[in-house]
């Protein structure tokens, strides 16, 4: 995608309703080493293919979403509320 995102709360919406933050990274634990923090803030896998990203439905429900998107084809997969995504992750 990048024309429309299907917000789990609002339905199909155009790109301009969103703010894109980028790679959906987990924030390290507070006591993590400086190296870990550096990597978190500055280094990116930047894959060609499947990519999980944070999108904010700024002009909509104002929820942060995790959008799975293919950076080569722009096809979108699942779109989850960030909270739901976290649960899914932690349970998995």
């Amino acid at each position: 995608m990048a024309s429309l995102v299907s917000c789990p709360h609002c339905g199909l919406r155009p790109k301009e309703e969103f703010t894109i933050r980028g790679a959906a990274l987990r924030r390290p634990e507070p006591d993590a080493s400086p190296e870990v923090w550096f990597e978190h803030v500055y280094l990116r896998d930047n894959p060609r293919g499947e990519h999980e990203e944070y999108w904010h439905h700024t002009a909509g429900c104002r929820r942060w979403l995790v959008v799975s998107r293919n950076t080569a084809t722009h096809e979108t997969g699942t779109v989850l509320d960030a909270a739901a995504h976290l649960k899914a992750e932690t349970s998995a």
Partner: protein
């Protein structure tokens, strides 16, 4: 074969059957002193200067597509050296100086045309920021002028001076800025490098980087393994992917930037004008098309194409700045993949692999850097030490907190 009015004349009389190829189509040799990954502007310029300035001629440039198929062939061709920070400014001025003598050096007309770059400002804050930048330029002896509204109006009378939502207050002008014919740059450097013995190997994609005890031995490609003593990466939008082949993770995201060209017109805009109250910059190519662009789409992409929302966003800013664009028709839009770095500035440095060198992170500003980037990368490859104008473009600057952040946007690539 030398190009000149005379050679054109002579060949014309022979039905133009006498022209020699601009470059050879060599098969890869088993081993090179230096392999450059990426046949874009930077890769080709690097090879050219390696051969010409540093006497290293056993060089190959491997390019996965056709020569110049990357960003060098799809950018809006603006060159300038109007930078604020000491880490940037001297480098880009060095580049502009190289542009100024390029045609004679290459014996190829890349149409370097310094018709000026005018950045508009619309508020006191913007004016002050441009004053700060312009003075940094002046301190380094770079030409810069701060124009007021009247002066801008004299230069470009058909901007919106009547009912603009964000009135034009003035602009920062660099007269030596301008445009260069994108393809001419790739072809000129390619032809120049080839004539000095460099092998330009097109349609040859690097698929792996072989390493033995901390050193690179060569690259696997779609045309087989090619050995090298030194490997230089100049893969622009694909830097992360190529570096990954050597186990490196970069402070880079790949983003798509779109560019546009209008139908061909008689002279409409002379120099380059950039809008200050939205994302828009425009110039006119010597073919007559208005070449313009704006902001990146904002999402990671390797697709070389963007979406309509951004197209409209760009057009809106364009008409807001220049109402007369309204009835002009946009002919074509395309996209390029840029290596957006974490501070908006490039990297020209060694890596923790002994003989692997990196040239990346050029964002949407690397075309103007082509000559200096090639020169400085060649310098690094040849001497293992950075060129004096490129000492700040270190890979470890993020870990050490020495970012070169012109915009102050922080570690958020799509904001640079």
């Amino acid at each position: 074969m030398r190009y000149s009015a005379f050679s054109i004349f002579r060949n014309a009389l022979r039905g133009n059957r006498g022209w020699a190829p601009a470059w050879r189509m060599p098969d890869p040799k088993p081993h090179y002193d230096v392999i450059i990954v990426g046949g874009g502007g930077h890769g080709l310029a690097t090879a050219y200067y390696l051969a010409k300035e540093f006497g290293i001629r056993n060089v190959a440039v491997v390019e996965k597509g056709y020569l110049g198929s990357g960003n060098v062939g799809r950018n809006t061709t603006i060159i300038r050296s109007n930078y604020l920070l000491a880490g940037n400014n001297p480098f880009y001025e060095f580049s502009l100086k190289l542009w100024e003598g390029l045609e004679q050096d290459l014996n190829f007309n890349a149409m370097v045309s310094q018709r000026g770059v005018l950045n508009l400002y619309h508020s006191d804050a913007q004016r002050d920021a441009y004053t700060k930048r312009g003075n940094a330029m002046r301190l380094h002896g770079v030409d810069a002028e701060l124009l007021d509204r009247a002066a801008v109006r004299d230069m470009v009378p058909f901007l919106d001076f009547e009912n603009a939502r964000f009135p034009v207050m003035g602009g920062l002008l660099q007269r030596r800025g301008g445009t260069v014919r994108h393809d001419g740059v790739a072809w000129g450097y390619g032809r120049g490098a080839d004539s000095l013995g460099v092998d330009i190997i097109q349609h040859c994609e690097v698929t792996g980087i072989r390493r033995e005890n901390g050193r690179v031995t060569g690259v696997d490609t779609t045309r087989g393994f090619i050995g090298c003593s030194k490997l230089g990466l100049a893969a622009a939008g694909n830097s992360s992917r190529v570096a990954e082949m050597a186990g490196l993770k970069l402070p880079i995201e790949s983003h798509v930037l779109q560019a546009f060209v209008s139908e061909g017109l008689k002279p409409f805009v002379d120099g380059v004008v950039t809008y200050g109250a939205g994302h828009f910059y425009i110039s006119q190519s010597d073919k007559g098309g208005l070449v313009f662009g704006g902001d990146i789409d904002g999402y990671n992409s390797y697709a070389q194409r963007g979406n309509l929302a951004t197209v409209e966003h760009v057009a809106e800013a364009g008409k807001a700045m220049m109402p007369a664009l309204s009835r002009i028709r946009v002919l074509r839009s395309w996209g390029g993949i840029m290596d957006m770095s974490m501070d908006g500035s490039p990297i020209i440095d060694r890596t923790d692999l002994d003989n692997l060198y990196l040239n990346a992170g050029w964002c949407y500003g690397g075309f103007k850097a082509t000559p200096a980037s090639g020169y400085c990368f060649a310098h690094l490859l040849a001497h293992d030490a950075p060129h004096p104008t490129a000492t700040a473009f270190r890979l470890d600057r993020f870990a050490r907190g020495l970012m070169i952040d012109e915009r102050g946007a922080g570690a958020q690539p799509n904001l640079h």
